[in-house]
Amino acid sequence: MKLQRKSGLRVLTVGAVAITGALVLTACGSDDNSNSSSPGTSAGQPSSSASNASAISCEKGQILASGSSAQQNAIESWVKNYQQACPGATINYKTSSSGEGVVDFNQGTDAFAGSDSPLKDTEVASSKKVCAGGEGISIPMVGGPIAIGYNLPGVDSLVLDAPTLAKIFNSQITSWNDPAIKALNADATLPTTKIQTVHRQDESGTTDNLTKYLKGAAPSAWPYEHAKAWAGKGGQAAAKSSGVAALVKQTEGSIGYFELSYATAESIKTVKIDTGASAPVEATSADASAGIASAKVVGTGSDLSLDLGAAYTTKAANAYPIVLVTYEIACDKGNKPGTLPLTKSFLNYISSEDGQSQLTAAGYAPLPAEIATKVRSTVAALS
């Protein structure tokens, strides 16, 4: 039996293997969206400017980091800026997933890790093995809005609130001209189309954060606990944020959730959220920052884990409630002496005014001032 591959196919195979690998390895909650092929997208890399050098106090050396793909674009542009300013420094961030980042960190291979959710108690406990005399802490670094994208030709603006959203995603509201939706959109002509909800089939921090919001803002309409795996009834599942966005784009009458950059890249319309504020809030970087501003720090000591509970129910003007925050995981004390100077210097830069100002261009949200201040002092105290 001959199963010979022609050399041309071999190239195709290698390419496909690479794609497959990428698909498998970036199985993180929120994916990046770096292939911004359409012009005018904000998902590209923010451009670096030479003035960044001022915020960077250079250290030499080489560090490894890994984890969440939600913050991949942000980290990539930061690394580029840092390495431009500091020849002799190499920061290697391997994008995989939050879960994998934490596992790597607790095995001692990472100088720091990226994660969509703060460390669990069990993970903190096992981090004591790698942090000599200290423990792993979660430092919030990158915020971002989760956009609710929809595809309904003829409806250019759609307002929903948390209970309605929860019922839609749980298949209790099944048609677009349901009274509940009509009540929120008096001016729109809503079709009788059936609602097709789209969710993630892979476990993801995006799902976790969306269901945290639904549970937090509409506990009576969302009967499930928040989880990385989708629990709602009905609807279709697609792989990764890119898959959800593609399916929403294809399917008339569909509604799905993904990071803002996907909505921008695919030019999908996003839902405005009626939070009880004077006007419905749109998913934008600035509005997400305002939403995160109402989060509470619940970490003890130098741990800055955030509780976004207050953000979900905020009624502040222009504060978008469906947000996620990615954390950098490092040791508060007992970081490896070989990697500490560069780690600290890099985290100093990305939490600085300069570093945070890079975020908006990529569809992320800078940390609100109060939290950013705490982050800076925590990073400065790493040892």
């Binding site: 199963l3 591959r5 390895l25 892979d202 476990e203 599942a237 792989a239």
Partner: protein, 326 residues
Amino acid sequence: MTITTPPPTAPPHHIKAVTRPGDRIFAGMSRGSGVLLLVVVAAIAIFLTVRAVSAISEDHGNFLTTFEWNASLNPPVFGVAVLAYGTIVSSIIAMVIAVPIAIGIALFITHYAPRSLGEPIAYVIDLLAAVPSIIYGLWGALFLVPHLHGLNLWLDTYFGWTVIFAKQDPNSSARSLFTVGILLAIMILPIITNVSREVIRQVPKMHEEAAIALGATRWEVIRLSVLPFARSGIISASMLGLGRALGETMAVATVLSASPQLSAHLLDPVGGTFSQNIVAKFGEADEFGRDALIASGLVLFVITLLVNGAARVIIQRRKEYSGANA
């Protein structure tokens, strides 16, 4: 009508061959290869079992009957019911479609087509095997799914009474186990066709000529001398294909709209398979979640072993035809 060959009898005097160092080295190397394979399989089985047992003991649902997969919950609840069902059903659909077509193609190439046509067809089938599964997945998601929508509606309308072809929501997309089965059928076609073709080629010319001499038509030749002789080889070929269908990952993950529901309606976009579930959950899984996924892998391992064992038994029972000694 069966054709039996007498079993070969051992020569009366066993003549001892001369052995030189090269013989011993070669014998040792080939023995080592055989042992190595056994060691590797045993190592895989032990690894799977050790990791799986630790996870299953923590499971707060019944591992075999729970539908959902929430290993990250506290307490964790996960089970393989939906995955086992989806894996088996999609593979059965694939086999029902692929095996008859593969045998047909193999017979066409060997017995019906002129050489000038058979060779190119065989080559094109080989090419199918060279397409990576992610490409099948993308083609399935972007082309097959939208184009099967009409067929789904037609099946629902005229065959809805069979229950399996009843679609609960006619508007839902065709990202179902049925579509996955069709895609898997295309993916396993080349391997079954190729191996079957080689086996059919090995049917002794004498058998066929004898049948023709007795006045058999071409169909009767195939029925009486080719298929019985090639049967065990064709079964082996099908098993190779089935193995690929059971374990296929990327194509299924790209096409199927996975959700933890067990549905007898093949056209509903629900369900899941072992490999698809592992690929979907692995990235975000912590240590425990990975152990849980490995436990599901162990179940697939066992299912594959059972299937292969059954195939072996069938082949053993037909040992007298030692074509392509499977």
